[in-house]
Symmetry: C2
Subunit: 363 residues, 2 copies
């Protein structure tokens, strides 16, 4: 027993020495960030210290340079916190998000701005927009695409009346698995526990694979996993966290009906974000209803080889135009090819509004 | 405009270089943590990789060595996350906390174990105890002292039937201020907004200082602060976060009636935590009801100069003993003076149970 103690002691001393260096370097980084802020305060009026494009670049760089043992997402998360702390020294970022606390939108806000930002929950999407417009906060975080809750429309509609721009995006992926205890066989599963929302998200898969198993709704997926632990004929639908927590095996992975089961959030603000190197642009386009109009509108995207990632059609609320399209595509409005394409689209549409060009979600 | 751009560019290159070093050192630290885990796995059966005393020592050291510009709490928070990530590489800590998500107990759990721990909300304090006892999780987080909600008893009672020990503590402080817009004068405040719970926590102060102001309950303190922004005759009771978010001034600071307005949480587990250098011990003592018994019991604490930080009296549920006392004091059970004192206390009481010795909450 002396051998391991000795080497443990040596390792701990090594860790202490590494901690000294990490501490020193983070402090130096914070001092540099203060200098950056001082220069900006002097030379830019109302200077914005938070730069989404710069932050995205730093995180992408860290993920590229990282070779373990920590995985790149974890390393990026640590750097997000370091940047968040450095930034908060000068001017903490103020964020309003769609509350209440403990929801995915708060999680998205934390993921994007880190723990050192000042963030407060709002009761409605409108309120988030209003707080940013009033200048009470620098940014807002609102959900825009959600496989189950359908809040898209409300957020998109808010943009139609607002001068705010999109400064970033955050994507939270949500995967469900069919979990069982170690000894449970597939043909023995007669009961499946889960939260009602997760049942809804996996309905087709369950109908195809376990049409006869009883589906028992419980208060949370964690609760489902816990129940299964002691029932050899039961399974639970839950995520990775619950699987790890209760040491359950995955009888089937990623059983959600939509393979892209995730929620996407937008960061809204007053800022035009410069090119980060890997960007997206969001547009609203208003059009008159005439045959072939949509095909006509999309032709320039195709010809300029621009990758459209989303197209939503919404009836126009103003009544003047018949349709409004929300379009997301890869590229930044200041890139020459994108700028040329946008000019052509403007000639074909009744109205085009660029909601923003922003870095593709890094984490 | 060329001057600042050039120096900004230089600073950014310097930050990139620092990031390279920070990345490399964190990776080395993670590799060391893996070696520690490998040695432990080889030499200790069922080895516990998470060491509360070691973690407390690292954080205290970091806070001592830190000389800014980041403040020591922020730096400790970054190191908590770095340690949490390193630990999760080998064996992520599993934690059950009193839910739901978004409550102070989750905040306490995050503060103590960092984001890389696997943590799940439980519906009741009993369930947290049960999950730890069953071995489904390594630790539980439960509130023990709360100025308003009075959950103390439930947690203390759970200890009476349990073999679990206390492995740590977390304290979250909650301060309230009276906030107003920049131009508002004290004698002009005719209306005060706040959440009902905050009104309750500041009642005496309000009665003394603003007996005639109308008290208007709203859904959250953030909402209160927002309302005040546009009303020159109103004030809000809210915390630092809301004050910063809405740029409000503090007409009065820390107006909560109890100066120690805070919630204390316990980390419960199966582990005896070694001496960290700054520790606390919690005891349950059962006594027969006879004149002078409490004075008699406490005498050894006094004589050994041991600093008692809390004493709670509870009626015994078993009926055999008349009273049960919960006692917290500074010191670790393995320190010679504490051990000697405990021996004496045992002679005077009907029953003594040491709930645990653990590091004083660092953050």
């Amino acid at each position: 027993m002396t051998e391991p103690s000795v080497s443990l002691e040596a390792l701990r001393q090594r860790i202490d020495a590494l901690d000294n260096d990490i501490l020193r370097l983070i402090s130096e980084r914070a001092a540099c960030a203060q200098e950056v802020a001082a220069i900006k305060a002097e030379h830019e009026s109302g200077g914005v210290f938070y730069r989404p494009e710069r932050e995205a670049q730093v995180l992408r760089r860290v993920m590229e340079l990282n070779h373990g043992p920590l995985d790149s997402e974890e390393m990026a998360r640590l750097f997000r916190e370091i940047m968040s702390a450095c930034l908060a020294l000068e001017q903490p970022v103020k964020v309003a998000y769609l509350g209440p606390e403990g929801t995915f939108t708060q999680q998205a806000s934390l993921k994007h701005f880190g723990e050192s930002a000042i963030s407060l929950p709002m009761a409605a999407i409108d309120e988030v927009f209003r707080e940013v417009e009033a200048g009470a906060v620098n940014y807002g975080v609102v959900p825009v695409e959600n496989s189950t809750e359908g809040v898209i429309n409300h957020t998109l509609d808010s943009f139609m009346d607002s001068s705010l721009r999109i400064c970033g995006e955050v994507v939270l992926r949500i995967h469900h698995h069919l979990l069982v205890g170690e000894t449970t066989r597939r043909d023995k599963v007669s009961r499946i526990y889960s939260h009602p929302q997760s049942f809804a998200q996996c309905r087709k898969w369950l109908d195809a694979h376990f049409p006869h198993a009883e589906r028992v709704p419980v208060s949370s997926n964690a609760e489902a996993a816990r129940l299964v632990k002691t029932e050899w004929h039961s399974a639970a639908i839950a995520g990775d966290m619950a699987a790890k927590l209760y040491d359950l095996s995955k009888l089937a992975e990623k059983i959600e009906d939509r393979p892209d089961n995730s929620t996407r959030f937008l960061i809204i603000g007053n800022q035009d974000v410069p090119i980060s190197g890997e960007d997206k642009t969001s547009l609203v386009v208003a059009m008159r209803n005439q045959p072939g109009a949509l095909h006509d509108l999309l032709e320039p995207f195709h010809r300029h080889h621009i990758d459209m990632t989303r197209l939503e059609t919404r009836p126009s609320r103003s009544g003047v135009w018949n349709y409004v399209f929300f379009i997301d595509f890869k590229g930044h409005r200041e890139e020459p090819q994108v700028a040329a394409m946008l000019e052509e689209v403007k000639l074909r549409a009744a109205e085009v509004k660029v909601l923003g060009s922003y870095p593709v979600g890094v984490l």
